[in-house]
């Protein structure tokens, strides 16, 4: 099925066309969501929302860009919305934990995982540190950097997804890289890794 056939099929309510869309683009959507959310379950959950949103708003797709770009855009927006909602929930969760004498203790959880090799744990920590730093970047820089570096999309496609010019994309990515490296150095120094 070509892109056009898929779009026409979904508009006409064909089940096979929608199945084709989901099967063809699920890996792309799930991994974009995962690049932003850094959590497999959340990524799968949000990806489902992305396809549902795509199904409902197929009428507004004008075919000026590729389906992948359109789906990327929806996936980025849905993921950012999810992060925003999660932050709100976290405020209440932290209050809940505070009132319940802090039942959750990350240090204890880590101690319990004796079977995990130290090296693997250190790598995991490094990865989480990187995610933490990426999440602290301004929204546009974060989106541009994630799409370009983690999803390995070219500047042109990032620009299309973000609806900005290619040069703006370049500026955003360069700023993001500089900030990220500075913050990584600071974080690593703080954690006595250097």
């Amino acid at each position: 099925m070509t892109e056009e056939q898929i779009i026409q099929g979904i508009r006409q309510g064909e089940e096979t066309a929608f199945k084709e869309l989901v099967d063809q683009y699920q890996e792309l959507v799930i991994n974009v969501c995962n690049s932003f959310l850094h959590n497999r379950d959340d990524a799968l959950d949000v990806s489902q929302d992305v396809f549902i949103k795509a199904y409902h708003s197929i009428g507004s797709f004008r075919g000026q860009s590729r389906i992948s770009t359109w789906l990327y855009r929806i996936a980025v927006n849905q993921s950012l919305n999810y992060i925003r909602d999660r932050k709100r929930k976290n405020i209440f969760n932290s209050l809940d934990v505070w009132f319940n004498n802090s039942r959750y203790n990350p240090a204890e959880t880590l101690e319990d995982q004796d079977d995990i090799a130290t090296e693997k744990m250190e790598r995991q920590e490094q990865k989480h540190l990187l995610y933490k730093v990426i999440e602290s970047l301004p929204k546009k820089q974060r989106v541009a950097l994630t799409l370009n570096k983690l999803e390995e999309l070219p500047y042109k496609e990032v620009a299309e997804i973000m609806d900005i010019t290619v040069s703006e994309t370049g500026v955003l990515i360069n700023r993001a890289k500089k900030t990220l490296q500075k913050k990584m150095v600071a974080e690593l120094k703080n954690t006595d890794r250097l």
């Binding site: 199945k19 995962n34 799968l44 890289k177 250097l194």
Partner: protein
Amino acid sequence: MKCKDVHIRLLDYSEKTLPKGEMEEVKRHLDQCETCRQLYHQIQTSWEMAKKERIPYQPFFYTRVRQRLSNQSQPVRSHLRQLVRTTMYPALFFIVLGLGITIGIQLGKGIGPQQSAQMQDEQEDYLEAYAENQYLNGFQLESLEQELFFADTASIPRSLNQQQDSYE
């Protein structure tokens, strides 16, 4: 090149996207500086790990999406209920509040200015009658209060003195 300058070029260095001259300078610095070398390895490792973290094709993904889609289209009633909850309840609250305020105002309006003036007059008449009659009983003029507050007879108002004389 200083450590600070190397730090902001580490990502590009790991991806080999720096200009040739800068690549060589960073490499030279990393060969000499242990701290920057460690930092480079840590950033490189975490970045590579993040890139490798891919979720493979999910065989039952479509079924789940389809299920959610059909779940969403079914509960029209629950949407309606939610709409009622979110809009009707506050509206009802404000209607009741408005009614309460209106009834209060209407009740207040029931006592018009004429009625109010008449009531005030009646009250004043009663006070005057009381003021006139309270001195009929001479015994009241010799009350304890008078002993205490008007011990000095000079300070007793003239009208009271005259009234006392007439009783005597």
